[in-house]
């Protein structure tokens, strides 16, 4: 399932939980791990000055400085790194999302693991709309796994996977991935959708009949769009709730003791800035008690 993991770290505590997941997965699947850190934004035009994301200090990045940062990373994640002794650490300069995506393009990992959004990338936030996680999740050709909370750490195998369906094309890819995971891990797969009766409708209130109609319709869509593709896989349930999708999916995942949530993340770039609370996916990551994987596209043949 996973042979090549790129763990993009902020090299701070905020990435500790993600480190645990990355290395537990690596051990479980025998995957190679690249620990990747973008140490700072190049500032001041063509000068060689970089603002280090961790220290917030302006520094001249040379080989010595890079080596020091690599050591710092080994200190930060040392305990976890023991689980995958061949893990390599790479640091570079640039805008984090762009450099992570560049590394993904070069190394073609089958999974990217990241920490949740933290205050730590405020240095970039000013320049760019959306967070690093949003941008990576949106553009990466491979699944992106995010962990924000300690409770969401992954300790061993998978027993219960929740697939958050939104009936989009990206969501089809997320479904394929969920099914593959569930087959491989021989675990339960829960197909879930939330009928949005919340904020995105701008105050329009749906009456109960409409809601129930939509729930029925969504169940039919789940059957037609996903269940139809499951073949002999029988270890699944499906459910549609009403509410604010990011909240409902977290509640549902708790109820099913999920150890993984899979969903698509496909907000338009232009929309990112206009949702100050972040996308549904980020809300889920902030609240979920398990890792969240975003999948937007099928692997290229």
């Amino acid at each position: 399932m996973f042979k090549n993991i790129l763990f993009a770290t902020s090299a701070t505590e905020a990435s500790d939980h993600a480190a645990r997941v990355a290395f537990n997965l690596a051990r479980q699947y025998g995957a190679a791990v690249t620990v990747f850190h973008v140490l700072g934004v190049p500032t001041r035009g063509y000068s060689q000055v970089v603002v280090d994301v961790r220290t917030k200090e302006s520094v001249q990045v040379d080989d010595e400085y890079r080596a020091w940062v690599v050591e710092e990373i080994k200190n930060q994640h040392g305990g976890e790194m023991k689980k995958a002794p061949q893990a390599v650490v790479e640091v570079c300069v640039g805008y984090p999302h762009r450099e992570i995506l560049r590394a993904v393009r070069e190394k073609k990992p089958d999974l990217v693991v990241m920490g949740g959004t933290t205050g730590g990338d405020s240095v970039y936030k000013k320049a760019l709309a959306g967070t690093t996680l949003q941008k990576v999740a949106k553009a990466a050709p491979c699944p992106v796994l995010a962990v924000a909370r300690e409770a969401a750490s992954f300790w061993g195998g998978f027993s219960s996977i929740v697939f958050g369906a939104d009936f989009s094309k990206a969501s089809d890819a997320a479904f394929d991935f969920s099914l593959k995971m569930a087959r491989e891990a021989q675990c339960e797969l829960h197909l879930f959708h939330a009928v949005d009766v919340g904020a995105t409708l701008m105050g329009k209130i749906m009456d109960q009949d409409t809601i129930e109609g939509q729930i029925r319709e969504s169940l039919n869509r789940i059957r037609g769009r996903y269940v139809a593709k499951m073949g002999d896989f029988k270890n699944y349930t499906m459910e549609v709730w009403e509410g604010i999708p990011s909240i409902e999916i977290v509640k549902f995942a708790r109820e099913r003791n999920a150890d993984l949530i899979v969903m698509a993340h496909h907000a338009r770039q232009a929309d990112l800035e206009d949702s100050p609370m972040g996308s549904t996916m980020e809300q889920v990551i902030m609240r979920a008690g398990c890792p969240v994987i975003s999948v937007n596209r099928l692997p290229k043949a």
Binding site: P42, R44, G45, Q48, K126
Partner: protein, 462 residues
């Protein structure tokens, strides 16, 4: 030790030399060596005799020391009107003095001249508009920088920048393959949203040849994607070149005349090879000055023109909006107080002030635009022009110089600053950070992209 390992009179011509120079963190050794660098006074004087045009000679001699240029200089104004910051004084005490002494100046003098040329003047050319004789210190400082560069008295980053152009024909170490590959990558990344998006490379006879700033390729390739998408939805027939794609010129800031010529010749070569109807450059001010305004002279082109008509991005944008190739969704127009930074290099020095105002008329809800004061061709430099942004040695002075723009922006009450120039964009970013100014700033492309109407036939089918 008259000539140092890093600091010397030789330009950087190979990748190894470039890496070695970069390896001298912060230019510590470089500046140390500079203290012992000998001035080749004979060379200095003979160069002046050969290259100093009569215009500069006349300017140096007719200056009436009237001081009318003083208040025109933003650096004079932010330094408590220090008389040593009066434009006329700055040039007379440096270039003027070298000429009077027939090149017989020493190392200490050259250090002073270097600081004056790079930390006391951004070559914004504002003073030239206010001098009753039209004497332009910006032009003269540009010339002085050439003399200083030849003698090796040039800030570390500038020597590197010029070396980049010599080695890569780009201001950063971006090889041609990387440029093409990055552009393609950006297009791929956006093909889901814009299914037929592509980047035609080396297409002959296209309507538009698009040129960029290497930093876009290196650090924020989103800019390339935005350019491609906007051409795409405007239905333009455009292309990029796999060689000669860099519009900018740090060589110009450095005073490396030879590298200036190398750089523009590579772009002109692309124009001649691909024969586009015209060239459109990215949102960069000094790059426009270098490649479109001054370049033809560097390249020795008799007509003073680029091989094909060449325009700034704002000119293309205004035209696309005017002709309806790009349509703005009126609902999405900017509805916060907004101002624009008029770049010295294409507003003051190339007359595009009304073009940017026209763009504003399409994209800003009436009543929200606030002009800076002064504005248009009278606007002050962003504070980081002419290379100032990039020089670590003069960071403190640069940060002081940013105060002019900070106060101008604050006085408008704007929440958003449009900055269609890389240098201005950087300076504004830095002043926001340095002085914690609560505004946002942006190039035009990402904003236009948010409000442009995508024609039905270009939308993805779900």
């Amino acid at each position: 030790m008259p000539e140092g390992q890093f600091c010397n009179k030789r330009p950087v011509n190979t990748d190894e030399e470039l890496k070695a120079l970069l390896g001298d963190t912060g230019g510590q050794k470089y500046y140390q060596e500079m203290k012992a660098l000998e001035v080749d006074t004979a060379l200095l004087w003979s160069t002046i005799q050969k290259t100093m045009k009569s215009r500069i000679k006349t300017w140096l001699s007719i200056c009436a020391h009237c001081g009318m240029c003083a208040d025109s200089c933003f650096i004079y104004r932010v330094s408590n009107r220090n008389p040593k910051q009066v434009p006329a004084y700055k040039i007379q005490s440096t270039l003027g003095e070298i000429v009077r002494r027939k090149g017989k100046v020493d190392n200490a003098f050259m250090h002073m001249a270097m600081e004056t040329a790079w930390a006391k003047c951004t070559c914004c050319n504002r003073c030239g508009m206010y001098c009753p004789h039209g004497i332009d210190m910006g032009v003269m400082f540009g010339y002085l920088r050439g003399l200083l560069y030849q003698q090796g008295f040039v800030p570390w980053e500038m020597k590197i920048g010029a070396g980049m152009h010599r080695v890569y024909r780009a201001q950063m170490d971006v090889p041609n393959e990387e440029f093409v590959d990055t552009f393609q990558w950006m297009v791929e990344e956006n093909q889901e949203e814009y299914p037929r998006l592509e980047v035609p490379v080396d297409k002959e006879g296209a309507d538009i040849l698009y040129t960029v700033n290497a930093r876009e390729v290196k650090h924020y390739p989103e800019d390339l994607a935005e350019a491609a998408i906007l051409f795409h939805i405007a239905g333009e027939d455009w292309t990029v070149t796999s060689e000669g794609w860099e519009l900018t010129s740090l060589a110009m800031f450095a005073g490396d005349w030879e590298a200036c010529k190398m750089q523009v010749t590579s772009v002109y070569g692309a124009m001649e090879r691909l024969k586009p109807k015209r060239m459109v450059g990215t949102e960069c001010g000094h790059a426009h000055r270098a490649t479109v305004v001054e370049g033809p002279y560097w390249a020795g082109r008799k007509d003073g023109q680029t091989p094909v008509p060449s325009i700034h991005y704002v000119e293309w944008l205004a035209e696309a909006l005017r002709t309806g190739k790009l349509k703005i969704d009126p609902e999405k127009r900017i509805k916060v107080p907004v101002t624009i930074q008029d770049s010295c290099n294409y507003i003051r020095n190339h007359g595009l002030k009304e073009v940017t105002r026209e763009i504003i008329s399409y994209i800003v809800e009436p009543g929200y635009f606030r002009d800076m004061s002064p504005n248009r061709e009278h606007n002050y430099c962003c504070g980081g022009g002419g290379g100032f942004n990039g020089i670590g040695l003069y960071r403190r002075q640069r940060n002081e110089a940013l105060k002019t723009k900070r106060d101008q922006i604050l006085a408008t009450g704007a929440e958003l600053v449009l900055a269609p120039c890389h240098n201005c964009w950087d300076a504004i970013r830095d002043l926001i950070e340095e002085y914690e100014v609560p505004v946002k700033w942006s190039f035009l492309k990402p904003l236009i992209l948010k409000m442009a109407v995508v024609p039905e036939h270009l939308k993805p089918r779900e």
